[in-house]
Symmetry: C2
Subunit: 318 residues, 2 copies
């Protein structure tokens, strides 16, 4: 039987247990990579959700490189899809659902090292009438405080490499989706320099969608770790620390005002401490603060906090 | 002509300019009271909104008593009532509107002095069909870190006094509304020890509603200032500071996840810096932190962060 191309039907070869195995392995690999770089160790908390399912949250606190790094695996079931999950799919509002994923946010100590977020997820919804619906979602994005062109290039080249086997247009599409998603309308700023974002992916059948999602998950560490490693060696002072704390306030604003994952988690009565692991350990707000003209802080706003085709603009044969 | 008791019609004596005068005078009185206590001075920013109207934001930063104190007057107009303003009034969704109010949040420096919020507002909506609708809203609430029974008593006694001339049931009703409104479901905690909250007030005609709203506005300083003054004299250390910063994280969570005023402001494209003046200057998040058993920090959670009838329970003829 050929794979269905109907976007709201389940491919006959959908294999949730293969997705779960992949996600658990990715969880291990990410944990191991950070522990190889940082003197800190992850605390591991397994939890159950009364409504069904559970997860394991791993948090590294006050490490040598990471002020906080959290990476969670979760696999939950529910009787009613929360509203934040089904905006784009009115036909499954209120359906029973199963959701599994890895979600991480790393807040490095050094203001020269960027904050990063990565998520890969798989959902199956079973409406009261009609067939089940599955889809993948995910991506990764980078939020530098003091951006370096070579880091942004490396980040987006790696993102492009993750997408390349799946079609020439995939990187551009997911890069633009990321720019639109990680945007703060009340600040008229992107959260950072973007990366990849995709959702509602079930085009082309389960095997292709799973392979694409794995490729995104597998490219996260090669995209991020070299940047974290080299920037954590740069010396920094109070000025850079204050700017980092100030910009972390924007991270909080995005997560609590707009982030679908955070709102989905809180609305579906997920484990609050695991969901809010994404919060920075410390953040500041200054009233009406503006970066001094010509400063490195002003460069962040002027050159990086709006959508740009970094690969076309910065990649001059380096 | 008798005042209408139809909750969706405008009283013939509604007088927006009297409300505006009152609000501007209250703005002055609050500013003066803080400057009399604190060595700091308010920065005053007047602003215009492209869609109509404007306001004046006043912010005191790094004062001797207040780490940040912000109090804004605004008077704005818009062609389309934002969704967050009209949940309770589907008949005015999308109506043209006029909104004026005072809103303040004070973040004292001392962890022994509570954070506080007060708001009084007046709205008029003009639906495309049907008569205009006006209503008042407002209240004040207190968010202590290390609560003192005598402060909580003084706070609620003053709140009760503000309501007493308007009926025996008013304090209880607005106190309970406050407990319900300033609640964080994902934490199963109230924001603090409550106070008063009311909205959609137009019962009994304009004169009564305006008088009640004035009484709430006028009782804020007598409720808060004695507490701020005496608690700012208590010595404190790093432990208390860390707990204050941690609990300020909850303040951020409430404001960005649930607060109707914040969401209304951001959705209606208000001045972001004035709306987010309510953010604490510095806040922290600690993963899965719990107060030590028997500690003063545990007492906050156990005795204060759920709805209680403080006047009945604490007021033993003091």
């Amino acid at each position: 039987m050929a794979e269905s191309t109907d976007p709201v039907s389940v491919s006959p070869v959908a294999d949730p247990s293969a997705v779960q195995s992949y996600l658990k392995d990715l969880h291990e690999r990410i944990t191991a990579a950070l522990e190889a770089l940082d003197s800190g160790r992850f605390r591991r908390d397994s939890w159950q959700r009364p409504e069904g399912g559970g997860g394991e949250s791993r948090v590294l606190t006050e490490g040598s490189i990471f002020e906080r790094a959290g990476v969670s695996f979760s696999h939950v079931r529910g009787e009613q899809m929360p509203p934040s999950a089904s905006n784009l799919r009115p036909e499954i509002a209120g359906a029973a659902f199963e959701a599994m994923g890895i979600s991480l946010v790393f807040h490095p100590r050094s203001p020269y090292a960027p904050t990063t977020h990565c998520n890969v997820r798989f959902l199956v919804a079973t409406p009261k009438s009609g067939p089940p619906v599955w889809w993948f979602g995910g991506g990764f994005d980078l939020t530098p405080y003091y951006p370096f062109d070579e880091d942004v290039l490396h980040w987006h080249r790696t993102a492009r490499a993750a997408c390349e086997p799946f079609g020439a247009e995939v990187y551009a599409k997911y890069k633009q989706w990321c720019d639109r998603y990680f945007f703060l309308p009340h600040r008229n700023e992107t959260r950072g320099v973007g990366g990849l974002f995709f959702d509602d992916l079930n085009e082309g059948g389960f095997a292709r969608c799973f392979a694409l999602t794995r490729s995104v998950g597998d490219h996260f560490l090669p995209a991020f770790m070299p940047i974290a490693e080299r920037r954590s060696r740069e010396p920094w002072g109070e000025r850079e620390r204050n700017f980092q704390l100030y910009r972390r306030g924007r991270y909080v604003e995005f997560n609590l005002l707009y982030d679908r994952g955070t709102l989905f988690g809180l609305q579906s009565r997920g484990r609050t401490e695991s969901i809010l692991m994404s919060m920075p350990p410390l953040a500041r707000w200054d009233y009406d603060w503006r970066p001094p003209a010509g400063s490195p802080e002003a460069r962040l706003y002027e050159e990086f906090l709006h959508p740009r085709d970094f690969l076309a603009e910065l990649d001059r044969g380096q």
